[in-house]
């Protein structure tokens, strides 16, 4: 993947396929590091599946027996000296408190750090593809936070207007872009 934001798009799709109603995408950035967490309340995975899920030959996909999403994220983290962890609580075992947490830690100054890239397009693509799922996106910098919560948007829009409406997607893109521009100003 050319950008970490593409890995985020890919991994968040796993949460959607796991029937999550809320997917939290959290980025915590310092001068040296970037920590990514993708937290969902989906159906989770068994302990046995978690133990082999970073193996490319584990997949839930039915078109073929290879899944590259998590192995690629793990590689992207480890090639910077960082790491990736996955924990999951399966709905069958934890009916009231289930879901999956994927955390990846990157050292930003490492030569092999993949730039984050266009994370705004990732959020827009996720909402476009899954307008009935809620997303909380939060990118934290030392002095600034960029945040979008589709639950707030949904509350304003009511039930009749889908989040995938073009005007809403434009609003989401613009609100995130404006917040990132605010971040750039602070660094100067």
């Amino acid at each position: 993947m050319k950008e970490l934001s593409l890995n985020i798009l890919d991994i968040a799709q796993n949460s959607i396929h796991a029937d999550a109603s809320l997917v939290r995408i959290l980025l915590d950035e310092t001068d040296e590091s970037l920590e990514l967490s993708i937290i969902d309340d989906g159906k989770g995975m068994s302990e046995e599946f978690v133990s082999r899920v970073t193996d490319p030959f584990s997949t839930t996909r039915t078109t073929r027996k290879v899944g590259m999403g998590l192995p690629l994220l793990k590689l992207a983290a480890e090639q910077t000296g960082g790491h990736m962890t996955i924990s999951s609580r399966e709905r069958a075992v934890y009916p009231d408190d289930h879901g999956t947490v994927v955390t990846a830690f990157f050292y930003k100054n490492h030569l092999d750090f993949t730039p984050l890239g266009d994370v705004v397009s990732t959020v827009v693509s996720l909402v476009q593809g899954s307008p009935d799922v809620d997303f909380l996106f939060r990118h934290t910098f030392p002095n600034h936070t960029v945040e979008l919560d589709t639950r707030e948007i949904r509350e304003v829009l009511g039930e009749e207007v889908p989040l995938s409406s073009p005007d809403v997607l434009v609003w989401i893109r613009e609100t995130l872009t404006e917040q990132y521009e605010g971040t750039a100003g602070e660094d100067e």
Partner: protein, 122 residues
């Protein structure tokens, strides 16, 4: 920050329109968005279709959707256009080709044969 007031305006504007129900569109554009598609460049392709359809006010008649891996990863980004029981499969799509597909196929009604999987396999 952009105001929630603007969202309220969007809601009011939308409430005056008939909102598209899923499956009621005349044409459906589907972009492959699994790991293979994303790595090959599907995200800007998807966003180009979304923008073009909005820009041309085709939201009521054309739907843009996403799908997973359809098992032909070497041809990604793959885009399928459905119209009635017809399906056209485009391969190696990029934002420029996406704009052309909207103009010639979606609006003009003529599929671009040279971008289809059929042309590649000859």
């Amino acid at each position: 920050m952009k105001s929630l007031e603007e969202l309220k305006q969007i809601r009011e504007k939308m409430q005056n329109k008939v909102i598209l129900r899923e499956g009621s569109a005349e044409k459906r554009i589907v972009v492959g968005m699994a790991t293979c598609g994303i790595a090959a460049g599907a995200r800007p392709v998807l966003n180009t279709f979304v923008e073009e359809i909005a820009k041309r006010n085709l939201t009521g008649t054309v739907e843009v959707g996403q799908t997973g891996c359809i098992g032909m990863c070497r041809f990604e980004p793959i885009v399928e256009v459905f119209e009635g029981d017809k399906r056209v499969t485009y391969i190696y799509v990029n934002p420029d080709k996406a704009r052309e597909i909207v103009e010639k196929h979606i609006v003009g009604g003529e599929p671009i044969v040279e971008y289809t999987i059929g042309a590649a396999e000859k």
